[in-house]
């Protein structure tokens, strides 16, 4: 028996969420008194893989097969299945990324495992009873689900589990994966990265604008505030519907769900659908000229005032604060 954690990498580097997943998977392995095995597919830097012992991996299996250079969901699911079977892994953990959304169902079916996606906390394991919480109703509630299958595939939301490290070594082994042509069900023509910015679901600081900004011509305020704080841009649905900002920035019930450490909502009233997408934020700051705006009911801190006047002052103060070092 073992717990297996699958790691994604961006080029040679493991993502921050990979270390979160290893820490999480190690905690799960401890709960069931078993070992943690980590799996990397692609060309992750071996020195990065070697550090995984510090986060709890007893062994790291590295797969570097040319056919797997581009992500292909069925092929990756097949490889993870092969490793899970070799290691007798009853629990497989992945970070809840777009790749995971694409491969986890097939992986679960191949392993005859229950799939529980988008968790942000450890399961409760008492003998044969396994239960775990996940967000439902687009973040308006949690459901605790009991899982009765022997095997589980779990996807963990990024930025929800604290990385925990010690000082241990690990063993890196090559794993010779079998990939058949039938597993490569589509071809990747091109990968286009808009930028090297941290993607919203992984962001630790998010600065978001709503209709209170009055128009796209004022968005430099949001951009400057994001730069000052070191954060990523987001917006409310009316703003992306109006074409002021791209769909990719829309956070909310029918947009992206985020869980940053700090969420700054500027000129956003706080409609229930918007709150649903941001309620997992650890700290929420709201800036709105309406003291009765619903956003203040979920905010931890706020400033009542016109965004166009407040934001420049806030940016100044942040710059001074950061200059002090």
């Amino acid at each position: 028996m073992s717990v297996l954690v699958y790691l994604e990498n961006t080029g040679a580097q493991l993502k921050k969420s990979a270390f979160e997943a290893v820490s999480y998977a190690k905690a799960v392995a401890d709960q069931i008194n078993t070992n943690l095995i980590a799996l990397s597919i692609g060309n992750a830097d071996p020195s990065g893989l070697a550090t995984l012992g510090n986060y709890g991996a007893t062994k790291v299996l590295a797969v570097s097969n040319d056919q797997l250079n581009q992500f292909s969901n069925s092929a990756y699911a097949s490889v993870i299945e092969q490793v899970a079977k070799q290691e007798s892994a009853d629990i497989v953990i992945l970070v809840n990324t777009f790749n995971a959304k694409n491969l986890a169902p097939e992986l679960a079916l191949k392993l005859d495992a229950a799939l529980i996606n988008a968790v942000s906390s450890l399961p409760s394991i008492k003998g044969d009873l396994f239960s775990i919480k996940r967000a439902v109703f687009s973040g308006k509630a949690f459901a605790e689900v009991q899982v009765s299958s022997a095997k589980k595939v779990i996807t963990l939301n990024p930025n929800t589990f604290e990385i925990s490290s010690g000082d241990s070594s690990t063993v890196i082994e090559a794993f010779n994966a079998q990939v058949s042509d039938a597993d490569l069900k589509y071809n990747v023509k091109e990968t286009i990265k808009a930028s090297n910015k941290v993607p919203l679901p992984e962001a630790e600081i998010v600065v978001s604008g709503g209709r209170g900004l009055k128009g796209p011509e004022n968005w430099h305020l949001i951009e400057d505030l994001a730069v000052a704080l070191g954060g990523v841009l987001a917006c409310s649905k009316p703003v992306s519907d109006a074409g002021w900002r791209p769909h990719e920035e829309h956070v909310g019930q029918t947009g992206i769900t985020i869980s940053p450490n700090l969420y700054v909502a500027v000129g956003i009233s706080g409609a229930i659908q918007h709150i649903a997408g941001v309620s997992s934020s650890k700290t929420i700051v709201a800036i709105n000229k309406d003291a009765d705006a619903p956003i203040f009911k979920v905010a931890d801190y706020g400033i009542v005032g016109d965004a166009l006047e407040v934001v420049p002052k806030l940016i100044e103060v942040i710059k001074q604060y950061k200059a002090k070092g």
Binding site: L115, A135, Y186, G302
Partner: protein, 245 residues
């Protein structure tokens, strides 16, 4: 071209979510149900690809008879016919197995779903369907175009997108950007009443996942409000109290 669109029936986005029966069930009292917004996008794309005699759109829904108004809405939007599998949608794999049992001998060129339903946010049906039917499946696409017997899809990835070429038949789950959601017009609403809605019985399946309890997040204590001149106090609080700066 024959397209199958999988739809779900969900509480509308303004719903205040509460639970009943000792927090073991979603409280449906007074809740308005709608066609899942992402499924509307998938349906609109399917109609766009088939209108003008270029093909046919079938919608399938796993749900009890109370969901039929939503299925009629999909017909009103422009689907040609509908199938309802007469059982509650227990979880993603259960729903996928019901749909696969129906679809496996029907030679659809494409099966489209929404990227996830806004009630349970699983987003698993497209992935499970691909594995059950042994057909290419791509989740969370932002655009789809057909060129003869192949499709070009843009799949969302962190910070960007991946352009994928895939042969028909394929399965995809649709996100914002694939199509503008269509609104049923008067003629659509009238014709929806007589378009075929076939009810079929489910295949027997069980799920290893059971919801034992729901929780609503506890209400937060009141926000600390600062005046616009106290921005420095806000930053100080974010640093020393919230520890996020």
């Amino acid at each position: 071209m024959n397209i199958l669109v999988c739809i779900s029936n969900v509480p509308d986005t303004t719903t205040k979510v509460t639970f009943a029966n000792n927090d073991t069930e979603f409280n449906t009292a007074g809740v308005q149900y709608i066609l899942n917004p992402y499924d509307e996008i998938a349906l609109s794309k399917a109609i766009e690809l088939t209108e003008g005699g270029k093909g046919k759109v079938t919608v399938i829904h796993v749900g009890d008879v109370s969901t039929e108004p939503t299925i009629r809405k999909a017909l009103a939007t422009g689907a040609d016919d509908a199938v309802r599998v007469n059982t509650s949608p227990i979880d993603g794999l259960f729903v996928a197995k019901q749909i696969a049992a129906y679809a496996k001998d029907k030679a659809f060129d494409m099966i489209l779903t929404g990227r996830e339903s806004i009630d349970y946010n699983n987003g698993q049906v497209a992935g499970f369907l691909g594995a059950l039917l042994n057909i290419a499946s791509v989740s969370v696409i932002k655009s789809l175009s057909i060129e003869g017997s192949t499709a070009v899809l843009e799949r969302e990835i962190e910070g960007g997108k991946e352009v994928i070429g895939v042969n028909l038949p394929f399965i995809a789950s649709c996100a914002e950007g694939v199509a503008e959601p269509r609104i049923p017009n008067m003629r659509g609403i009238m014709s929806a009443r007589t378009k075929p809605l076939q009810v079929i019985e489910p295949v027997a399946e069980i799920s290893p996942i059971k919801t034992i309890r729901f929780e609503t997040p506890s209400a937060k204590s009141a926000a600390r409000i600062f005046s616009a001149d106290e921005a420095d106090k806000l930053i100080e609080a974010l640093h020393s109290e919230a520890k996020v700066l």
